[in-house]
C-alpha cells in the first residue's frame, strides 16, 4: 500500500455571501498517484484546492500531510509544507522574465540582493531535471500558452512540492502540448509525486489518473479507482443523470440568414491570431451550436459579433446591416441579444437590484422612458412580468442581485435578453454552473423562441450534451477556425466531436458543406 501523502477530511466552506461551496468533503492522495477531481462547473473543485493551498479558509475540516494534521494558513505555508499549485488561470507576471517568474518568492542571492544569474542557472537546471524546456531569459508576456504552463509547473517543482495541484491544466493546451504534459506528469508520478488533476475531460482523466473523486454541488458523490473508471459511471456521478437523453426536436422551418459572419479574423494585443478567417451564418428559426475546447476562439467570435471586441478583418452583418463602426447599443438595436459566458463580469452588476439589472438595456428604449425620466410604471410592469414568466425566485425586485443563486441570476439575464425585442441571440455558455432545473428551463426557452418566434440562436458551449441536444447545426472550432460542421445531429456523438475538437480530425471545405 502506497504511503498516504495528503488527506482532506470533512471540509466545509461557506463563502462570505452565505453560499456553501464545499460540504463535508473527504479525499486522499497517495504517493506516486495521479488523483482526479472532477465535477461540473461550479461543483466546488477550485474552492477545495484553494483551501488546500491556503488561499481560502474553511469553516470545518482537517488537512493531513504525510499523516500529520496540519493547518495551512497561506500559500507560503502550503509551499513550505510541500504543496504546489498550478492555477486554472495562469499566475504569471507578464513583464518579468521566465527565470524571474520561476524564482519569485524564493529568489537567490546574498542577503536582500537579487542574483539574476543564479536565478537563470536555477531555472536552467530545473528545466533540465524535469524535462521542461523553457528559455529563462524570455519575457513571459512573449511566450506561448504551452510554455507558460511549463513555467507554472517549474514554479511548483522548484519549490520542492510533493503534492501538485493542477487545476484544469489542459483547457488551454494544444493536443501535442497535452501529450507532452501527460508524459511529464507520468514521469513525476514515477518519482513519487502525488498529483491532483482537475479536468472536465473524461478521456484525459481515464488515460492519466489512478483514481478519481467526483464532486457535485459541493459534495462528494463518488470515488472511483482506475479499474472501475468508464465514461458512463463517471458522467453519472458528475451530473447525477444519464448523459444520453436527447431532447425531442421539432422539424424546423428555417428562414433567411439573419446573422452573417464573413472572413472574420482577430489578432490580439500581443499579436496572437485568435480567430482566423471564420465565415458562417445563422438562419432565422435555427439553433447553430459551436463546440470546442475553451480558448479556441469561440469567445472572441461571440464578443466580435456583439461588438465588445473589434475584429481585425472581415465583416459581420445582422439582419442585413454590417456592424463595423457601430456601437454596442447600435448593434443591439439591429436585433441582437447576448447572454455572456461570464455571468458576474458581463451579465450583471452584483451590487445593483434585480430591477436595475433587468432595465440596464432599456434605458434608451422609447417604451420605458419618458423624456429624461424612466417610465416607472412601464418598467415596474415589465419587471413583474419577467419575474413571473421566467420564474425568478426572489423576495423583492429591489434586493441586490448578488443575493440570488447563480441559476436565478442567469434567469434574470435570460429574461432581459429574450424579451429585448431582438431576433438573434448569442448564447455563450448559457447554463454554465447552474442547476439542472434552471438549465433545462433555459434550454426549453431557447427552443421555444426559435421554433415559435423564429429566433436565430448561436449557442456556444463547452457542454457537449447541451450543444448536441439543442443544435440544428453544429460547428466545431479549433485553433480559431471552423474545423467541422454537422448538419445531421443524429450522426454526431461524443467521440466524433472530441476528435475534431482536439484536432485529431479536420474536415475539408467540401465535407463541411454550406456554412450559410
Amino acid at each position: 500500500m502506497a504511503k498516504e501523502l495528503l488527506k482532506m477530511e470533512g471540509i466545509t466552506k461557506i463563502y462570505g455571501n452565505g453560499f456553501m461551496a464545499n460540504k463535508n468533503i473527504t479525499f486522499t492522495v497517495n504517493e506516486g498517484e495521479i488523483h482526479a477531481l472532477i465535477g461540473e462547473n461550479g461543483a466546488g473543485k477550485t474552492t477545495l484546492m484553494k483551501i488546500l493551498f491556503g488561499l481560502e479558509s474553511c469553516q470545518e475540516g482537517k488537512i493531513y500531510l504525510n499523516g500529520q494534521e496540519t493547518h495551512i494558513e497561506n500559500p507560503l505555508d502550503a509551499i513550505a509544507k510541500g504543496v504546489g499549485m498550478v492555477h486554472q488561470h495562469f499566475m504569471l507576471v507578464p513583464n518579468l522574465s521566465v527565470a524571474e517568474n520561476v524564482v519569485l518568492g524564493i529568489e537567490p542571492g546574498p542577503g536582500q540582493i537579487f542574483d539574476k544569474k543564479t536565478a537563470v542557472r536555477m531555472t536552467e537546471e530545473a528545466s533540465e531535471k524535469f524535462q521542461l524546456k523553457v528559455d529563462p531569459n524570455a519575457l513571459v508576456r512573449d511566450i506561448s500558452v504551452g510554455l507558460k504552463q511549463k513555467v507554472e509547473l517549474l514554479k511548483a517543482l522548484i519549490r520542492g512540492a510533493k503534492v501538485l495541484i493542477l487545476d484544469e491544466p489542459t483547457a488551454v493546451l494544444t493536443p501535442q502540448e497535452v501529450r507532452e504534459l501527460f508524459v511529464q506528469l507520468k514521469s513525476l508520478k514515477e518519482s513519487g509525486y502525488g498529483i491532483i488533476f482537475i479536468s472536465h475531460k473524461l478521456d484525459e482523466v481515464m488515460e492519466l489518473c489512478d483514481s478519481a473523486t467526483i464532486l457535485r454541488h459541493g459534495r462528494v458523490t463518488g470515488f472511483v479507482k482506475k479499474e472501475e473508471m468508464n465514461e458512463v459511471v463517471l458522467s453519472r456521478l458528475i451530473v447525477g443523470r444519464d448523459v444520453v437523453s436527447t431532447m425531442e426536436k421539432d422539424e424546423s422551418s428555417v428562414g433567411d440568414t439573419v446573422l452573417k459572419v464573413r472572413g472574420v479574423t482577430y489578432v490580439d494585443d500581443i499579436g496572437k491570431k485568435l480567430v482566423d478567417d471564420v465565415s458562417f451564418g445563422v438562419r432565422a428559426g435555427e439553433i447553430v451550436g459551436i463546440a470546442g475546447v475553451e480558448g479556441n476562439g469561440q469567445n472572441e467570435i461571440s464578443e466580435i459579433i456583439t461588438g465588445l471586441l473589434h475584429m481585425t478583418k472581415g465583416t459581420v452583418s445582422i439582419n442585413g446591416t454590417e456592424t463595423s463602426g457601430l456601437s454596442i447599443s447600435q448593434i443591439r438595436k439591429l436585433g441582437l441579444a447576448h447572454i455572456s459566458e461570464d455571468r458576474m463580469t458581463y451579465g450583471c452588476a452584483q451590487e445593483m437590484s434585480i430591477y436595475d439589472n433587468l432595465s440596464s438595456i432599456y434605458l434608451d428604449h422609447p417604451k420605458f422612458t419618458k423624456g429624461i425620466f424612466i417610465d416607472q410604471k412601464a418598467l415596474d410592469q415589465y419587471v413583474k412580468d419577467c419575474i413571473k414568466e421566467f420564474e425568478i425566485a426572489c423576495d423583492s425586485e429591489k434586493s441586490p442581485i448578488r443575493m440570488l443563486s447563480g441559476g436565478n441570476i442567469q434567469k434574470v439575464i435570460v429574461a432581459r435578453e429574450f424579451t429585448s425585442g431582438a431576433n438573434i441571440i448569442i448564447a455563450n455558455q448559457p447554463t454554465r454552473g447552474i442547476d439542472v432545473g434552471t438549465a433545462s428551463l433555459i434550454h426549453k426557452l431557447l427552443q421555444k423562441y426559435t421554433r415559435e418566434k423564429g429566433f436565430a440562436v448561436l449557442l456556444i458551449s463547452s457542454d457537449l450534451n447541451e450543444v448536441m441536444n439543442l443544435s440544428d447545426r453544429l460547428l466545431i472550432m479549433r485553433d480559431g477556425r471552423i474545423a467541422a460542421q454537422f448538419t445531421d445531429m443524429n450522426k454526431v456523438n461524443d467521440e466524433l466531436m472530441g476528435e475534431y475538437m482536439l484536432g485529431i480530425k479536420k474536415m475539408t471545405e467540401e465535407e463541411r458543406g454550406d456554412l450559410h
Binding site: 499549485m85 507576471v93 494585443d269
Partner: protein, 317 residues
C-alpha cells in the same frame, strides 16, 4: 544675461527641485508596486514637524532626522492598516490622511508651543549644513550650480540610485514589481501583496520624510503650518508622467524645479504675482496632458506594428 545670473538661476532650480525629487522617488516606489501614493503630503508634513521638535530638544541632527522618519513611517503604517487590513479605499484614505495631518501638525505645534502658525520662536531646530563638493566646486559653471547645496539635496541624488537599486536589483524590488503587475500571481507563490504594499509604502514614506525635513530643517529651520503646499502632488505627477522610472522621475522633478525657478525669476519682469503662482501648476497640467498623449500614441502605434508583424508572419506560414 551674465554667467553668474544663469548660475544662480540653475542653483535655485536644483534647490527647488529637491523636495519634489524626494516625493517623485517616493511615488515611484509605490507606482512600481501598482499603487499611487497620494499621501506624500502627510508623510512630509508630519516628519517636518517631528524632525524640528526632536532636533531642537535633543540638539542632535541625526536624532531629529530619525524621529522625523519614524513619525512618517508610523502614519504610513496607519494608512496601510486602513487600506490593506480594513480595506478602505486607498485613495480615499490618503486624502483623509492629508487633511488629518495638516490638522495634526497644527495641533502638535499648538500643544508643544501654544502657537498655531510656526515653531520659529520656540524650537531652535538644527539645520542640515550646506556642503561644498571638493573637486566639483572649482569647475566653472558646474561648480557654482552643483556645489554648495544643502546636505538633503545630495542625499536626494543618492536616493535616486538607492531607489533604482532597490527596485531593479533586490529581491524585494522584484517582489514589488511582481505585485505591481499581477498581485494574484505573487500571492500564488506565497508573497503577501498587502505586506509588500506595506513595505513599499513604508520605504516610500521614509524617502518622503526626507523631503519634508528638507523643508523644515534644510531649506528653513522651523516648521510652518501647511509648509508642503502641494509639493507632494507635483512630485506624484512627476513620477506618473515618468512612468515610474526612478531616474526619469528625478529628471522630471528637476524640470519642475526649473519651471518654478523661471516663475520666480519672472517676478522681476512680470508683476502679476498670482498668475505667476499659477504657472508651475499650469505647466504641470499641460505636461501631464501632452506627455500622456505622446505616450498613448506611441504605445498604440507600437501595438499596431506588433499586430501587423504577427499577421504577416501568419500569412507567410
Amino acid at each position: 544675461m551674465s554667467l553668474e545670473y544663469i548660475e544662480t538661476f540653475l542653483f535655485s532650480a536644483v534647490r527647488i527641485a529637491t523636495p519634489i525629487m524626494y516625493v517623485a522617488l517616493c511615488s515611484t516606489i509605490a507606482l512600481q508596486g501598482g499603487l499611487t501614493n497620494m499621501a506624500a503630503e502627510s508623510m512630509m508634513l508630519i516628519s517636518a514637524v517631528t524632525g524640528v521638535i526632536f532636533s531642537a530638544i535633543s540638539q542632535n541632527l541625526l536624532i531629529g532626522i530619525l524621529a522625523g522618519m519614524m513619525s512618517s513611517v508610523l502614519i504610513t503604517l496607519f494608512l496601510c492598516f486602513a487600506a490593506f487590513v480594513m480595506k478602505v479605499d486607498l485613495y480615499l484614505m490618503s486624502i483623509a490622511l492629508n487633511t488629518a495631518m495638516s490638522g495634526a501638525t497644527i495641533y502638535i505645534m499648538y500643544v508643544t508651543t501654544g502657537n498655531k502658525a510656526n515653531t520659529a520662536g520656540y524650537f531652535a531646530s538644527l539645520q542640515m549644513p550646506n556642503i561644498q563638493i571638493p573637486i566639483i566646486k572649482d569647475i566653472p559653471l558646474i561648480g557654482n550650480v552643483l556645489s554648495g547645496h544643502n546636505g538633503f539635496t545630495y542625499l536626494a541624488v543618492i536616493m535616486i540610485f538607492v531607489v533604482w537599486f532597490i527596485i531593479f536589483r533586490t529581491k524585494l524590488g522584484l517582489r514589488i514589481r511582481a505585485v505591481g503587475q499581477n498581485p494574484q500571481a505573487a500571492e500564488s507563490v506565497g508573497i503577501n501583496p498587502s505586506k509588500i504594499y506595506t513595505i513599499a509604502f513604508v520605504m516610500a514614506s521614509a524617502i518622503a520624510s526626507l523631503g519634508g525635513m528638507f523643508l523644515s530643517m534644510g531649506y528653513q529651520n522651523m516648521f510652518i503650518r501647511d509648509m508642503t503646499g502641494g509639493k507632494g502632488f507635483i512630485g506624484m505627477a512627476a513620477s506618473t508622467i515618468a512612468g515610474a522610472s526612478p531616474v526619469g522621475s528625478a529628471l522630471l522633478a528637476v524640470v519642475f524645479g526649473v519651471a518654478e525657478a523661471v516663475t520666480n525669476y519672472s517676478k522681476l519682469y512680470i508683476t502679476d504675482a498670482q498668475f505667476l503662482s499659477a504657472m508651475p501648476y499650469i505647466i504641470t497640467t499641460v505636461l501631464l496632458f501632452v506627455l500622456s498623449y505622446i505616450r498613448l500614441k506611441n504605445s498604440e502605434s507600437e501595438m499596431r506594428k506588433r499586430k501587423a508583424a504577427a499577421l504577416k508572419a501568419h500569412e507567410n506560414l
